[in-house]
């Protein structure tokens, strides 16, 4: 029995549809990330699970029980808010103790449990301080300890790292996963940062405009995304318009706008079908022949250089070279680009065009 289940859940605010017919199953112990651009309905989703919002249609089940009519405080979930929400009038220890106190746990428990979780996030020495004296990262750790101390088995994290500096985010990411895995908790982590999602999750649920687009492990979402939106949203990719020339079991041949014919993974296509090729920058190589393009810009990315080139078809492609090789290129150079067939995926061309299909806002 899945620990958390949503069946046909929809949520409307007046005329605005925030969530549309969501079916979702989370198993016990899973770390699931709900990923998507702003406004896709991800926060609405976990709020319905928490009980902060009631669904307009459908059922929310926790532990097999229908949560209709069950108030927030009885759902046994822990929630970490985007903007932290530590009680400003209580010090760190009192904040973390709130859960056990509110549940009227025994004296013993009230004393030991908070200290235990504060120790877990390495902030025991901040016990007596007030939230305003802590940094953003520290506040978020206290919020985590507080949610954990309430004893909940399910943890809902609402963009817990979005308000933090890039560097602090990176450090805290690993901590979140490590601690929750050690405790054997089930986690639903909402974020708009695909890099974050890939690093921490067992499974990613990608949402767009109130619907679930695709759900899979991070690796599968990256290597073999089933939807064009996924291919573009997770990681970076080059998208090229084309028409199928030949389709077989081993490969698909696609003619691009400038006439060059490139290979890609096999799929169920017929010659003449309008398609889109997706190939990631790290898979594009400079070759002797292939797609002809002109170097437009070069960016230093630290351990590699990202080169942007414009093909005759006016497609813009990005590809990467190791830093020392960067000297071999200049803006305006003509290059030929190619890729291995396995690294290029083919999708049917969306009726409204590529831009519309991958649009974020």
């Amino acid at each position: 029995m899945p620990l958390v289940e949503l069946k046909g859940v929809s949520k409307r605010f007046g005329k605005v549809v925030a969530s549309s017919n969501i079916d979702l199953r989370i198993e016990d112990g899973e770390y699931v990330t709900i990923l998507g651009p702003s406004g896709c309905g991800k926060t609405t989703l976990i709020r319905m699970i928490a009980g902060i919002l009631e669904p307009s249609e459908g059922q929310v089940l926790i532990g097999g029980r229908d949560m209709d009519g069950v108030p927030i405080e009885e759902r046994d979930i822990g929630y970490v808010f985007q903007n932290i929400a530590l009680f400003p009038h209580l010090n760190v220890l009192e904040n973390v103790s709130y859960g056990p106190i509110a549940k009227d746990a025994g004296q013993e428990e009230q004393r030991t449990v908070p200290a235990q979780y504060l120790g877990l996030v390495n902030l025991l020495d901040r016990m007596k301080m007030f939230p305003s004296a802590l940094s953003g990262g520290e506040q978020q750790k206290v919020a985590l300890a507080r949610a954990l101390a309430s004893g909940a088995r399910i943890l809902l994290l609402d963009e817990p790292l979005s308000a933090l500096d890039a560097r602090v985010r990176m450090d805290l990411r690993y901590e979140l996963r490590r601690i929750t895995k050690d405790l054997g908790l089930t986690v639903l982590h909402v974020t708009h940062d695909q890099e974050e999602a890939m690093t921490v999750s067992d499974r990613i649920v990608l949402m767009r405009r109130g619907r679930i687009v695709e759900s899979n492990t991070p690796e599968m979402m990256y290597r073999a995304p089933k939807e064009l939106f996924t291919a573009n949203f997770i990681g970076e990719t080059n998208l090229l318009d084309g028409v199928v020339v030949a389709s077989g079991d081993e490969r698909t041949l696609v003619e691009l706008r400038d006439g060059s014919v490139m290979g890609a993974q096999p799929g169920r296509f017929e010659p003449g079908d309008a398609v889109v090729i997706s190939v990631r920058p790290e898979c594009v190589r400079v070759a002797d022949d292939g797609l002809s393009a002109v170097v437009r810009s070069m960016s230093f990315m630290g351990t590699y250089i990202r080169i942007t080139a414009e093909a005759e078809s006016e497609d813009i492609l990005g590809f990467d070279v190791r830093v020392p090789r960067g000297r071999d290129f200049n803006i305006g150079d003509h290059v030929h680009l190619g890729w291995s067939m396995e690294s290029a995926l083919v999708y049917p061309r969306p009726p409204g065009g590529i831009a519309e299909a991958v649009k974020l806002e």
């Binding site: 108030p71 927030i72 405080e73 903007n83 929400a85 009680f87 509110a102 809902l156």
Partner: protein, 549 residues
């Protein structure tokens, strides 16, 4: 280029701005603060008079102490009642969405639109057990103290609810939700999280409520006069302000009452300021029980019938104790016996009131907005902080005492009070000016300074940045303050009477009618005044609703 630009350059210059700010502050201190507290100097200058005629006269002392104590008792009781009845309503307004919320919003503010004189009369004929009670009235109250309490509850109610709503609105509901996700029932979360965060706001609400009751003169006089069926005399039940009103009236012919008058005023002012300071300190220090949690009973109270009961009683209270008494006067007109009336003098009085209110509001705006801007933008400066506190003083001082003090102050410059109108205007400015300033300060503080800063870097001078960027964003708050000032001036009775006993404004006219027992005429006059005030209130709502930010 040209002289116009030259003028603009000059006005934008640092020197001019400093000069203008200094002028504003000076105006505030000299025309508003100084006259308001002037009476306090009498404790020093006329000490011997006061000692002989008042402190050594047991009868007078009894009268004074009694009245002052009663005023404070009433204010305290009213504050508590208004808090308990107002909190559930403020909660509904701040946290919940429901049909008819806008309508409820308007209803809560209604008592503000009714001039104090009219409201005093209306509430009195509803509640008071008079010899010939009009139909539909309850007419059960014969105790003057209870009547005054019931009346003050109505006056102070909007202040309490508005303050509480504003504060609650400012506390992020996320804190409460966070508490609930940790397992606390709604009631527990409110009690342990929201209420402590709420404290500072609670103080403001309580102070405004308390001060309003302490300060209330005109309506109280009329209510008591209605109850007794005649003018008030010394032997009657008195609050501090009604005593001032009585003696001010009588002092026109009997100057020996002046020391007594001064003493009451001084006492009221000092005690009010002291008590409010104490209140602020106490509320901020009290530690609400947090460790103690009673999950089971609090859970029960959080759900099911209890919240609904709480909300309906709050609404019932609003209706029965606040709205009906305020507007009862309308039924009186329908059921009362008409009498011949000469509307001429009333029309004159009405025009006078309007002229005064307009002039007052204009001056408030011109002098108040710059001061508000100064306070809001110099938050860290000592002077600005001091001014921020001082601005509230005229609101706290009882209007009768204020009027009296003001009258005394200006009589030093103009012993014959040759132009009473000017005096009345000055008095009205004193207690309406803070309304404008507080509104504008609140509005400006809510605006991110980044807007104006961005405008400056885009090339706008401070003046241009105010005119093009800040002003449009606070326009509706300015308007709200202006309309509040206008209606307050229109309805003010006590201060008017206290500063110039023979004043001829509309509310004073009504007071005289009541004293003469021309109840029907008084009622008609009240209604006219109410309708006009109410139209202005509607204007206020329209403009504040258009707030874009």
């Amino acid at each position: 280029m040209g002289s116009g630009d030259g003028l603009l350059e000059f006005v934008s210059g640092k020197g001019f701005r400093k000069g203008w700010t200094t002028f504003n502050i000076a105006f505030f201190l000299f025309f508003i603060i100084l006259p308001t507290v002037f009476i306090l100097t009498y404790a020093v200058t006329d000490w011997s008079e006061i000692r002989d005629h008042v402190l050594n006269d047991p009868a007078t002392m009894d009268l004074i102490i009694g009245a002052v104590v009663v005023s404070f008792e009433i204010a305290a009781i009213v504050t508590v009642i208004d808090f308990m009845a107002g909190l559930p309503l403020a909660w509904m307004m701040a946290r919940k969405e429901f049909r008819g919320k806008q309508f409820l919003d308007t209803l809560i503010d209604m008592p503000l639109a009714v001039p104090t004189a009219a409201l005093g009369f209306s509430a009195a004929i509803f509640w008071a057990a008079t010899p010939n009670p009009p139909p539909f009235s309850l007419a059960v109250i014969s105790s003057p103290m209870v009547l005054v309490i019931l009346l003050h509850v109505v006056f102070s109610y909007p202040y309490m609810v508005r303050s509480l709503t504003a504060i609650l609105g400012g506390i992020d509901e996320t804190y409460e939700t966070a508490g609930r996700t940790l397992g606390a029932s709604r009631l527990t979360a409110v009690r342990t999280i929201t209420l402590p965060l709420f404290r500072a706001g609670l103080v403001t609400g309580a102070i405004l409520c308390f001060a309003r009751s302490l300060s209330e003169t005109g309506g109280t006089i009329i209510a008591l006069a209605t109850l007794y069926g005649r003018r008030m005399v010394e032997g009657d039940f008195h609050t501090g302000p009604t005593l001032i009103g009585l003696w001010k009236d009588a002092s026109v012919s009997d100057a020996s009452l002046l020391p007594a008058l001064s003493f009451v005023s001084i006492l009221l002012i000092l005690l009010a300021l002291v008590l409010l300071l104490v209140l602020k300190l106490v509320i901020m220090r009290v530690r609400l029980p947090m460790r103690k949690v009673w999950p089971t009973p609090e859970k029960l109270l959080s759900r099911g019938l209890f919240p609904k009961l709480k909300d309906s009683s709050a609404l019932l209270f609003l209706f029965l104790m606040v709205l009906v008494p305020s507007f009862f006067i309308f039924t009186y007109v329908l059921t009362g016996t008409p009498s011949q009336a000469d509307w001429g003098p009333f029309a004159d009085a009405l025009v006078t009131s309007f002229v005064i209110a307009s002039v007052v509001t204009l001056i408030d705006l011109v002098m108040g907005i710059p001061l508000a801007l100064y306070i809001a933008k110099n938050r860290s400066g000592k002077l600005a902080q001091l001014l921020d506190v001082l601005v509230n003083v005229p609101l706290i001082v009882p209007t009768a005492a204020l009027g009296f003090s003001l009258g005394l102050f200006w009589s030093n410059f103009d012993p014959n009070a040759s132009v009473p109108m000017v005096l009345i205007i000055l008095a009205h400015i004193a207690f309406t000016y803070p309304l404008v300033v507080r509104n504008v300060v609140g509005a400006v503080e809510g605006i991110d300074p980044a807007f104006e800063e961005t405008a400056r870097t885009l090339g706008a001078t401070p003046l241009q940045s105010f005119r093009r960027v800040l002003f449009p964003m606070i326009k509706s708050s300015i308007l709200a303050g202006a309309i509040m000032a206008f209606t307050r001036s229109l309805g003010e009775t006590g201060a008017t009477l206290a500063v110039v006993a023979s004043a001829n404004t509309a509310p004073v006219y009504i007071v005289n009618l009541v004293n003469q027992q021309s109840y029907y005429l008084a009622a008609m006059a009240c209604i006219v005044l109410i309708i006009i005030s109410y139209m202005f209130m509607l204007l206020l709502r329209r403009f504040t609703r258009e707030e874009v930010v």
